[in-house]
Symmetry: D3
Subunit: 337 residues, 6 copies
């Protein structure tokens, strides 16, 4: 099986249980996640080796993070130790008309974001990796981290590996004039990417591709082929999310492989925990591509996997391929007993 690695930050998620706010409660539930964590854990559950490349502090908090990653099935042997802190975020759940809220601590002082490039032996790492996953959240951190992720991508490609890039644009991380600041970096990453997770909004606003006032599917069909062509991405994939009046969500997925579009049906479902669902979608795309499943099957599975991810507490969803397939065939199942 191919060896997959992700380069990215581990964050501590501090969630107020139930539907209380930080003012009302006095309790938190914690776990450790991050885009790279979610992707490597999901791929490990599909049977691959999923290793995380990151830096964690040598403190009780860092130890707890590593133990948690091991529990998720993530290969922790490529993790560096150093620095002092772990990025953290507080999560207050929303309900109905009240949206959930995320409050970050100072992630720029984290071990990952303050690590020197010299702490990673990029060539040695590249030699252990067949597929490398990178994401736009990491790209938003700081110049050092950006440099590291580009270097590692270059080394992986040089060693014959593949690169997956998930655009994952977060406005809050780029600040004012974010799209302008982000564009050159996104362009650089897409040049390196074999597989890109991207939607029509990313293409329009970050890359400045496309313009018309069309419906979203039409926009998608217009802009994605241009992205694919301009940057030489082999496979592009993504979802369109709708939030319905009854607070269910709907997802439709697409894959555009060498210019040909395949769409999933639209799945509509209630939401327990929305965070991390995009990473589960990305993981299933990577899995389908590596297994060379037909694209229609891959996109159907990826959307079903993302749907299941919305039903799971925590950022990281752990479903086997057979569970995804069953949810795809029937998502109104009775208790299994």
């Amino acid at each position: 099986m191919p060896r997959i690695a992700a380069f990215g930050e581990v964050m501590m998620r501090l969630q107020v249980p139930g539907y209380e706010t930080l003012i009302q409660s006095s309790r938190l539930e914690y776990s450790f996640s991050g885009s790279g964590v979610n992707v490597t854990a999901a791929l490990a559950k599909y049977g691959h080796t999923g290793a995380l490349i990151t830096t964690l502090p040598e403190t009780p908090v860092g130890e707890a993070a590593i133990a948690y990653l091991r529990k998720l099935g993530v290969d922790t042997s490529l993790i560096s130790r150093g620095g002092k802190y772990l990025g953290m975020y507080f999560l207050e759940n929303g309900f109905g008309a009240r949206p959930g809220r995320v409050t970050y601590t100072d992630r720029l002082s984290s071990s990952f974001n303050t690590a020197e490039a010299s702490e990673y032996d990029m060539q040695a790492l590249a030699a252990k990796v067949d597929v490398l996953h990178l994401c736009g959240i990491t790209l938003a951190m700081n110049e050092g981290v950006r440099e590291q992720m580009k270097q590692l991508a270059v080394e992986v490609k040089r060693a014959g590996g593949k690169v997956v890039f998930d655009c994952n644009y977060r406005p809050a991380l780029w600040g004012t004039d974010g799209y302008t600041k982000a564009r050159p970096h996104y362009e650089e990453m897409l040049e390196l990417a074999d597989i890109a997770l991207i939607n029509e909004k990313d293409a329009r606003y970050i890359l400045g591709i496309g313009a018309g006032d069309y419906d979203r599917i039409t926009q998608l069909k217009q802009v994605i082929p241009e992205v694919v062509e301009r940057f030489g991405v082999r496979t592009a994939a993504g979802t369109q999310r709708e939030i319905n009046a009854d607070h269910t969500h709907s997802l439709t997925g697409y894959i555009c492989h060498e210019g040909t579009f395949v769409f999933s049906g639209k799945l509509t479902f209630p939401v327990y925990d929305r965070i991390g669902a995009g990473d589960v979608f990305a993981s299933a795309i990577i899995h389908g591509e590596l297994q060379q499943y037909p694209h229609q099957q891959t996109i159907n599975m990826a959307v079903a996997a993302a749907m299941l991810a919305h039903t799971t507490p925590g950022d990281t969803a752990l479903f086997s391929e057979s569970e995804v397939l069953r949810a795809l065939s029937d998502h109104t199942l009775d208790v299994e007993r």
Copy 2:
């Protein structure tokens, strides 16, 4: 008031709280239940004496089970003590597209399933019982238990009592060729039953009655009268469940009394805990029959009681007759204050 007893196993339910899985969590909530427990507790709440006939170990776990049954209002004076273990099952709640999961421990080594027939004084027990409840789950256990339940049913009938049999077919318990293995035992039990809880699927697959590719109501009308006639059952009753796209459930109930069908309206409702709802339906049927309520009233109440059972944490639902009647007349009530 008639004295009602159930012969059946007590199981310990070990439920992961909230929506986490066994991998994610570290906590369980436990309670004690079983088909017989649920039926006798529900009937006790309607004002009857509900006694359980079973065997429990003399261990702290067995003591906890008995205390719990007392709390439910179950008469524990007919319980034997012996053996070493209690059957248990783990429950992971589902959410939306993710079904709940039940994992059993080794219930065949439980005190109930290893008890010798000689541990029960069948005649003495029959003398204390006006109505005996038995169910298809117990029938699936092993030859010893099957023999005991048949013996007890025979003694109760001999002493002038009535027998209720709930088909409750569970494929996982009978294994391969389950229907074939189960049929002779089900036939024997139905011969003994005054009241049978049965649906068209039970009749078709276990008893081999009916065949056509009709809708379920038509099937029901076709097969149930044949069951009633062939086995001399006085009252047959059951539900048809639909699971809707929005994850609500719908139930329609029927009673077939001496060949005449009565149907409830279809009730649609959100589900909190689905386990044990069938036992609550059966209990209300027994209650209505013993109180000689009009069949239309009984079936309406039984479906409303089953609906309420879906709103209650735990297997065992405890509603008074007046609460059932209120839910029947209006199930979109505001807070009572």
Copy 3:
């Protein structure tokens, strides 16, 4: 900013967590609330000074109540200490077809309900208050408390302040022939009120105004102007609640200011905790009136605030004006991150 005070009882809310009943559980979550608490806390969150006028015992329970009120942002400097007890209520959450249940302890023996009028220096209090909030729950307590609230209202008016009266009729508190007993007291309060929270049912049954078998909106348009005119109320406001088959609730709000009606749109939403939502509506009406917002804006905000209150654990909802405005413009928001 105007100084707002409420005269009313603080109650301890003892809630069974999750969906278990008092029989099933062994745990409670407690908080402190009451109509006056909810109104002053909500107004404090909008930037006003919100002070509570009440009496609390000098016991650990009384201390806990005061600390809790401080946490809510309520000004506790006008609270008297004395008496022995705090009123309490147990809350069992409902689910779907199973309504929630409230069980009171003996609130008539509470410090508030047994305080002597002499414990309050009505003139001194009135001097510190620009707007006084009173409600029909307090009016139902006993003759002493009724006398105190009328006295205080008179003093506030004398000192140039305004009086808000929320009809809040609770049948269980007035007992048999409740409407007849209540009418003279309600009439007296409405005579004193500048702003009245009232719906068509209050007008018809308490005040005996209106009669026909019309739909509720027509009834409202018929009876409210008559109330306004007869009692000289400047602004009347209220909501009409519908409970839908899927257990969502719908609210439509109205303001009738000097005879002119303004209606909000109808908002439909899922409900997490319904208790206290009426107080949040009242608070937003008071806020809008004090800020002299256009009536259409005030009623829209008040209904949106009430909707948000249904999404919040506990009786007391704490939303800033900007959160209310955002919920008004879009109530299917994604996680904020």
Copy 4:
């Protein structure tokens, strides 16, 4: 086996978990107890029938109390239903130098304390009872309850039964001049008692017996025989408690049977939950007397049972006779596995 009943109030215990105070926490754990509850539950565990005679409200709280008593093994068939409230108390645990705190709600308005004598059929109750347990807490309530307990004691004696009276003097319940107010009632109860739980402080301060400034054991030997003789009590028993500098407690027990003293050794132990330990001591005395154990054995067991009661969460301790005997022989045991 003799049928034992206790006449007394059921209270709801609302305990802050861990070592937080009511100001700090937001959670409570509840159970139901009372002197009569503790005694009948403990005796049921020793194999007797233990029935409670009390009045409970027909509310969800009253239902929860009855279910809880059933779980404890208490016979609930003699309980009347009526009134509106249940007495309650809050418990904040102490730690080391910080004492625990109990805060009562208004127990005088409870169903038990407001029940009319006519609600109990005293003769019918007496006919079902061989031994009646009464206690000084009940005696402190109000004139009605006092009358009822005396009446019931008289009827039980008339029917040939025995009366146990536990002095259990609580200063807070009698208020100023408590000893003077209490004396006639205590004298009346002791006249009726066959077994009295009493210590030298009770005798000195309530009954005014003895005077000198001797050590506590000398006092005991001086005053108890006088009590026994004056009131015709057959067996007197009690404990002397010391609280040590390391926060362990020590207990020494005595029985004075027809003038002859027997003392237990002094047991010293750490304390988890001190409330209800006196009732467990009393229960073991009753059990020993009913089983006609040698007095030395009875007093040893009673002190060991009381020691075990200090190790148990909640007011009500449930230990079998064999567990008490084992603790008596060795109280530094390893895990049993």
Copy 5:
């Protein structure tokens, strides 16, 4: 009553409940504390006005901190809002031979530690303050904060107020050559201080006063008078802590007022939560000085208050003066009921 303010950081305490480590658990309990928080809350409980001067972020975490401070009784009207983060620390409880562990997040990026001096109007603040509390933890932060605390102290003195300085030296915060780095700042603070909390170790290692290898009391008597004289401190006070083999702690307190020593007795007690006890000691010293209690009474109360602080969950202990006096007179009390 004098108005007391403290200038210092608010930290979020994230505690693993029970005795699990961060690796084992998944839950945290949070509260907000800090030396200034503890001191102002304790003084508020003694009846003073206790205001905190700090900077908190305008985030849900900052809002939760302010609500929590209000609950503690702290006056929050002098708090500035700005910056982005709150300092935090994780606490894993120790047990027996296993010490507790504290892990900090990046507190240097907190709102307090990044606030500009211009955000505080030092003169306006000084005008509202009679007594200012400062501590060595704040002094260790960074040059900006150090400058601010000195400035504020100067302004308070200029306005006629008093300054309290608690040495509170934390080696981890000053790093290598800590004592050398710290000395000039400590000297500057002691010059400004009217009351200093200091022990012999502070004097020896930070200030370089005293040398001999004497026992700790002798050292104290040697070095403190020199500190008092050199820096013109009016009152010095402190404790000596011993940790005993049975894991109890012992404290002995001293006050040196204008050269005269007074010592408390040594109190020995079990420990529930050791953090914050020093602040409670300081608060009682401040209270005693402001109330002009005899020094012997003040030091006795301060040590008893510190002992009680060890029995309380959380950093911040809330005891009234009467509770402290009772603990002083008898610290082996039974449950209060």
Copy 6:
């Protein structure tokens, strides 16, 4: 570093939190442990590779066990999957005079105890193992498991590895005439063992060595050399436990290496969780032997590690070598901050 493996069962530990019993509570905390788990996890923490050889079911419970082992740092790559069940035990904590209680479920039907020898490729396993840990609990299971453990030990020795055998005699597992039944198997295991964990009781009762009525140390010195010689064990080690009147425990450890005894000092400490401490002692002995530490150092560390294990919730203690050394040098440490 040497590769260490343990052959043994994984059990699910179901613990009632706090000090309630199974009757009182409704909650459990679960973890996964076993002698082999504890040993490999502890050795992994010391830096070795610790792999478990066992069989686990392919169920959600089996998955949860594997994830938990990964979290502990155990190498799970040698685990077989098959069978249906996991052994489980309930744990009720004791307090003071009340001992803890362990109640087992049917462990003989577990995947481990029903696995066929053919499921393990003994030679392949032996090739991956430098040191094999086995224990007397496994030896007590059934003939199949006994055969497997002997076979594996033989293969490991044949491949040049070492065998560690921990006597760990549990009377309840061997039943009547346990010592007689056990002896031949113990003898066989000791013949294979390079390192044996054994105490004087094991030698006397299982092996029938030694007789006199001497104190325990004298007995030890008498019997261990005989064991060592008779079975050719290179290193024997063990502890003597005393349970003190104040419920602290004391441990003294010994190593007998090639006939020479070394003893640790006696450590006395309070106990939080006693289960698994013996495995931690064994792990430290193995670590010391593999690192070729002086025997005095090894035994001191092993007893200190065992002491720390008593302070940790759960069976499995995770301490680094430096934490053990620090506890050894000072076990009355303050909070580390």
